[in-house]
Amino acid sequence: MTPDSADPIETVSTDVAIIGAGPAGLFAVFELGLLDLKCCLIDILDKPGGQCAELYPEKPIYDIPGLPQISGQDLADQLVQQGAPFEPEMIFGHMVSELERLEDKTFRLTTDRGLKVEAKVIVVAAGGGSFQPKRPPIPDLEEFEEKSIFFAVRRIEDFRDRNILIVGGGDSALDWTVALEPVAKSVTLLHRRPDFRGTPDSVNKMRALVDAGKVNLVIGQVTGLNGENGQLSSAGIRSEDGPPEIACDAMLPFFGLTMKLGPVSDWGLNIVDKHIPVDTETFQTNQPGIFAVGDINIYPGKLKLILCGFHEVALMSHAVHKHIYPDRVIKMQYSTTSKDLKKKLGVA
């Protein structure tokens, strides 16, 4: 399930709600699945993989045991595939904003778009926190934000007949330059250097529009904003051969994403220097029933490595099972030999 358009009013029920679909969260689906626990993954990004998929999809990772080299994207894809037999619910594009503890000691999460997830246990696998668009520290930016400066395009129509200044050199900046050009009155693309990071196809499309005189390309950086009551009239520019000012009534800065701890800090969890302390036997936090794995947790000797996240997930999963079913004994099984496990994985 991937609710993405309208704000859904519905409740998902599951055994374990996992906040964050990076490598640790994805692997938790598998480990918890082996113990017959159903999972629901929630992530603010629009796809699984966390930092691997968002920050370094093409960079090779060399320290995953048994895989001498794998790209961030491939690792994310393989982890999704590994967890697929357990049919997790996947909710993308939602940020968990509230956590309530119900009378029966279970939990209810509410996302920023109103979706509710009820679960017996919460696993925080949120890495460095939730991804949010980077806000360049341009003076007076707040005054214009969401009025004439936007960090995302929700509706192309909102930009019809506007003079748009797009800032950045990656795929977001390039793709929106190409997509908005037909509806805008004018489009100026501003980037600090003549080289662009985007895919060659996006760069070529943009250059073709520049050559056709449909897009104005300026090499430089924004230094200030001019306008009144949140309505931009121009942006001050530092540029070697460009103008000192670019007239515009809408601006779209694309400076990538940054991670903020966000609402996690409001849930009564101990937080030490932006990290959540855990007990290394169970990976439980100071709150019973709330566990934390991967980059977001901290304990003596902690190493922020994907492979450590995997280890943490295995121990956490057994502790979660014990938390939910204190009287049941887990019979230790190995996926190489156990018929039962093979059946769960669909390979028996």
């Binding site: 920050l55 520290p137 250097r193």
Partner: protein, 106 residues
């Protein structure tokens, strides 16, 4: 060891002895130098450890790699002397290096 001086936007300075082969970012984070966030932990993936290398040191530190240039796109107020401090590995030759911390990380 090599002495690295971190200069804050207000002009205040902190000089720290950094281990050879550590990065200018790691030494800053370990010693709680304000203004070096290093969100990604040194993977050259976030541009929140942006510094300006003092001009007389540019010839010693050299130029950023292509990967670092790409990442610098995400930083704010880029100048000729901009570098990501996670990519500045401390060597004997850098003893006495001055780096200026920007007003804000992007």
């Amino acid at each position: 060891m090599a002495k690295i001086t971190y200069v804050q936007p207000d002009g205040s300075k902190q000089t720290i002895e950094g281990e050879i082969d550590a990065t200018v970012m790691e030494v800053a984070v370990k010693n709680q130098v304000a203004g070096i966030d290093a969100d990604c932990g040194g993977a050259c993936a976030c541009a929140t450890c942006h510094v300006y290398v003092a001009e007389d040191w540019i010839s010693v530190t050299g130029a950023p790699s292509e990967m670092e240039e790409d990442m610098l796109d995400f930083a704010y107020d880029i100048r000729e002397t901009s570098r990501l401090s996670c990519q500045l590995k401390i060597k004997d030759e850098l003893d006495g290096l001055n780096v200026h911390i920007p007003e804000q990380q992007g």
